[in-house]
Symmetry: C2
Subunit: 213 residues, 2 copies
DNA sequence: GAACAATCTAGTAATTCTACCCGTTTAAAC
DNA sequence: GTTTAAACGGGTAGAATTACTAGATTGTTC
């Protein structure tokens, strides 16, 4: 018989924690070795010699949050797998967790099927991310106004906008395009007016957000 | 007995296509209604009256690629579910697919378990993305130098960098922070030197890329 | 082809930015 | 306790910017 997967769960809300425990208990291949109310307790448990294959960490916790705990665990205990839990579907949270080496990411409204699937996958060394994770990560690509932008501006203006955003001065742009720096100024000023932004800084911002550079 | 899930598979490589078909045939709840070599064939099949609940589209196809096909299908056939397939784990591809409404995303080295899980989930109206998708999306957030940036700059400099990136002039910033515009200039100039960029434009670029604004 | 709008071009003046300069303060290093 | 380094505050001269105005060119409409 296969050894059970040892799981440790950390969440500051006792209700949530117990809920997860009772769900996990329904999975026969899983053994709960401990539960903790914050990151510090997780690390303390490990220092006392408790070992888990998969650690489930809530993101929002007092004293020591999930992200710090994740970092510490990954540093000190080679091979440990960590699944992050959160209620908030925020890009930055997810991104940071993934960067710090999280093996999985679930939301608290997950199902027992998804939970067990995640644990098994992660334990095998694979990654598991809830579908919503990909959605949240893909969203902020906004800047759809790109199309409107191309219609609003003339070719010359677009050309100059790109060069301005790359940090060239009027003089430099004038040399590149074989026109007077004054002319470049005029185009730049027209751009600032048309796009209703504040100075060069505004142009650069807009250019970057619309991926012109 | 539940009606079977009708699946249509499109991939320009016959080998891959047949491979998927033979895998799908092992899933009893699934019925393959057609297979196609490109997007046009998919649309033609639909025009001939063939209906599928879930369409699996390869991203790279001649004549009409997966993305265009996805867009067309979602526009013309309400409620249809689409899973995108690809070999390439590239951010832009995934992002575009999600923006255009893809319900799932898999890589061609997927397993029968993952494939059937994806089909069932998507058919229920949920999303399914392979774990690697989230990884690919999180990666190009490059700006890891953010940390280095915070260490390199003083608080005051960071403060001024943010304001500069928001389009304020030295005079305006001076007024906000109750210091001389000359002093703002000095800080701005130090920033330009420290960060080795060209003028305001360079500062704005860097600030945006590091998400300071 | 005259009238019209949009675009590209350019000049002038006022303002702002940039590249130097220096003194003070603060904290760490010797 | 002196030395160093870093952050902060300010000045001046020259370059680049912004805000104006306006002529030349192009394409469109009637």
């Amino acid at each position: 018989m296969e050894p059970k997967i040892r799981v440790l769960i950390a969440d500051d809300h006792q209700l949530v924690r117990k809920g997860f425990v009772s769900i996990l208990e329904q999975i026969p291949q899983v053994e709960i070795v401990a539960d903790a109310a914050n990151g510090r307790e997780v690390l303390d448990a490990f220092r006392r010699g408790i070992r888990a294959d998969v650690v489930m960490l809530d993101y929002e916790m007092p004293i020591m949050n999930g992200l710090e705990t994740l970092e510490q665990l990954k540093k000190d205990y080679f091979g440990i797998k960590v699944i992050m839990l959160t209620m908030l579907n925020e890009r930055s949270i997810i991104q940071q967790a993934i960067e710090k080496g999280a093996d999985g990411f679930l939301f608290k409204n997950t199902s027992i099927e998804e939970l067990s699937a995640a644990i098994f996958k992660v334990h095998k060394g694979e990654k598991y991310f809830a579908g919503e994770v990909a959605l949240a990560l893909a969203k902020p690509a906004a800047s759809i106004q790109n199309q409107a932008l191309l219609e609003l501006l003339s070719e010359r203006e677009l050309e100059i906008l790109k060069l301005v955003a790359q940090g060239f001065s009027s003089t430099e742009i004038g040399q590149q395009l074989f026109i007077s720096p004054r002319t470049v100024d005029t185009h730049r000023n027209n751009l600032i007016q048309k796009l209703e932004v504040k100075g060069i800084a505004g142009l650069v911002q807009l250019a970057i957000k619309n991926k012109l550079v």
